[in-house]
């Protein structure tokens, strides 16, 4: 039972994709079951034949079919005449053997994430997988289901199979791994025996020792609280994403960084703050006043939203620079939509000004935004959100996919708007980004906020992100 540990972007998924035949490596060797692999012949079908089975984080089962049907349609083994009853018996026996109880007759769509995952594992086993690869298996499970899963995995291991699981949770590693390998920036940093390795050691290996310790910005004066998130709870796409009574207060001029590994509620938090997902309880307060959690009200109250994902940022592919610049104002912005009419000339003039000020290339207001590089498109989004001096800015992974120069630009803009008095909430899965910009850091772990003490070094932060409070 081998755990693969690493931050976002460390290369865990890529490595597994190579193992599964989905990605061709530039070099190196692979041995499966004692045999060296010829890369030219390696493919998902070939990998499956050699007994490598994958359980994805996001289900690749057919939602409308039940578990039995899902197990049977792939692969070439089995009779052409398909007897649902006979197959059901076969699958039930398999499930029994490994303790993977799954309702077999309901469509997979109706099953809980834990049951769906068990069905996927069953499918891999039914194909004869000797090596099972699981990608963040417990991210969709409740603690009880995780226990259940571990028990099944142990049974597989005891039968002589091997399991690799990708994780960023220390308690998992401690609970079931025999060995753990840490990846950082595409390099395998260390392989340790899982017993007797401590959290700080792993955290240090995962993040590297060269991050500066966190220091609170000295004696900077911050204004009153401008963005208040009080007891915010929201349903999540997964168990780990469910927001649990989030409390955050950001003062004017302050940058609060929310660190975390992807899949711990960042998407849900972003959607609630953007006004696109309804919270189940709690309040959002801007400048002390509670605001209705929908897009227009939040924007009217002065809450701006910047995202690294173009569509989540509200950039419409196929619209021009000018059109995207004024996109959010079609209901109420009389500068560009006087009396319900689009003033294209005004929009284009504004776009030209913005392009010049922010050095957007090419500075053509009528250019389709799809033709712009990531950096330039993000500059437009920045210009749109920051102009008008928002009371608060929520920036979520704002530099995702950007080159160094563009990233640096975005960072400088974030700091500038904070210096001008806005409250900035930076949610990012890039720890370095958070540490370099934030005055204060908290961690988002399993949908809840965990404080990060001042003076924490990389190891301590790593441990927190892994689910363990700093020693």
């Amino acid at each position: 039972m081998h755990a693969l540990l690493g931050e976002n972007g460390a290369g865990k998924s890529t490595l597994m994709n190579v193992l599964l035949g989905l990605v061709r490596p530039d070099g190196g060797a692979l041995q499966v079951a004692g045999e060296s692999i010829d890369w030219r012949r390696w493919s998902p079908a070939e990998a499956a034949r050699r007994g490598v089975g994958m359980v994805h984080q996001h289900s690749s089962l057919v939602p409308a079919m039940n578990a039995v049907e899902n197990l049977c349609f792939g692969g070439v083994e089995g009779p052409w005449l398909f007897s649902p009853e006979a197959e059901r018996v076969r699958v039930a026996a398999l499930a029994e053997r490994f303790g993977l109880g799954v309702p077999l007759d309901r469509p997979v769509d109706d099953l809980s994430p834990g049951e769906r995952q068990r069905a996927e594992i069953l499918r891999a086993l039914a194909r004869g997988a000797r090596l099972l690869v699981l990608d963040e298996p417990t991210s969709v499970l409740t603690p009880g289901e995780s226990e259940h899963l571990f028990a099944s995995l142990r049974r597989m291991r005891d039968e002589g199979r091997a399991v690799i699981f990708i994780s960023h949770k220390l308690d998992e590693v401690e609970a079931i791994a025999d060995r753990v390998t840490v990846l950082r920036r595409g390099v395998s940093v260390a392989t340790r025996d899982a017993r007797g390795t401590d959290a700080r050691e792993l955290g240090r290996l995962m993040l590297g020792a060269d991050l500066p310790p966190l220091e609170r910005s000295a004696a900077r004066r911050f204004g009153p609280v401008r963005l208040g998130i009080r007891g915010l709870s929201a349903p999540g796409s997964s168990e780990a994403g469910r927001l649990r009574a989030i409390e955050l207060a950001v003062r004017g001029g302050e940058v609060v960084g929310v660190a975390g590994i992807d899949g711990n509620g960042q998407r849900e938090l972003e959607e609630v703050l953007a006004g696109v997902r309804a919270p189940s309880s709690g309040r959002i307060e801007v400048d002390g006043r509670s605001v209705s959690p929908d897009v227009r009200s939040l924007r009217a109250a002065g809450l701006a939203h910047l995202s690294g994902d173009r569509e989540r940022a509200g950039l419409v592919p196929g619209f021009t620079l000018a059109e995207n610049l004024v996109l959010k104002g079609s209901y109420d912005d009389s500068r560009f939509f006087p009396r319900g009419v689009l003033d294209l000339a005004a929009a284009r003039a504004a776009a030209r000004r913005v392009a010049e000020r922010y050095a957007i290339r090419p500075p053509d207001p009528d250019l389709d935004i799809r033709s712009l590089s990531g950096g330039n498109a993000q500059k437009l989004a920045v210009a749109r959100e920051l102009e008008g001096e928002p009371a608060a800015l929520v920036a979520v992974n704002p530099t995702r996919g950007l080159d160094v120069g563009s990233a640096r630009f975005v960072h400088s803009q974030l700091l500038a708007v904070a210096a001008a008095g806005s409250a900035v909430l930076l949610v990012s899965t890039e720890l370095e980004e958070v540490l370099s910009l934030a005055d204060r850091v908290v961690a988002l772990v399993r949908g809840g906020i965990v404080p990060v003490p001042e003076g924490s070094d990389a190891a301590a932060i790593g441990a927190i992100l892994l689910g363990r409070s700093a020693a």
């Binding site: 690749s60 939602p63 409308a64 079919m65 349609f73 398909f82």
Partner: protein
Amino acid sequence: MEALLEAALRLAAPLLIAALGELVVERGGVINIGIEGTMLIGAFAGFAVATATGSAAVGVVGAGAAGCAVGAVFATATFAARIDQIVSGMAINLLALGVTGLGARALWAGAPPTPPLVEPFPIPVLSSLPVVGRALFQQSPYVYGGVLLAAVLGFGLARTRTGLRLRAVGESARAADAEGVPVLRFRVVAVLTGATLAGIAGSSLSLALSDTFSEGMTAGRGFIALAVVIFGRWSAWGGLAAALFFGAATALQFRLQARGLGIPYPVFLMFPYLVTLAVLAFATGRARSPADLGQAYVREGG
């Protein structure tokens, strides 16, 4: 009563066969609204071949082949030229109207000959049963064929590996592809099969239900077949029931028209569509269409 049942079955046959063909297509995730045009071409081709060769059976085969050719055109437009399925379907309908209209005039100059017909034949013993004997067991081969087809498809979809894989392709092409199912091949074969069946269904219009060919004689039956698929909740037996329903409504309509009852018959004609709309609006859960219906599948770059 007996005559009504007989008429209902007879009128339902073209709907049933075309709908079963479209069922295969839609279960594979493709929506072909060009069945209307394909049926028309089937009616034309079947008629032409039958009168030319003097054999109704050869005519039916010709109709199927013509339908398959139309299916090939649809497949090329949709999968090769990446034209949207709805657009391709509409184009097929228009094309069919034009080609058959021109062809009919060219071949028969407005006076089509009488073709050899596809005659109903009795099933021995069973056809002597009282009450239902004649209605059920002395029917057109299209009726027998349609019912048989329903049984075969019902079985095939649920209990063969091919059927299972077709369903997977229609529900989630991505998942099917990940499991190694050749998505494109399945869809093309499904389209060709559906179009062939639509062609055969069309031939019943000119070789059984009537004995002539006239422009646009499908009169919307292809669209009704689309409704039959939906109304039958994308299952073969459901399709059979739905086709019978529509057939009965039509038979009833003729009857009542003769009888001069109070209910105007446009109401009857409207009824099946309204019911289908209602079923669509209020169906819950599993009665949804195949999840990937109408979505073109392009494998994402590795």
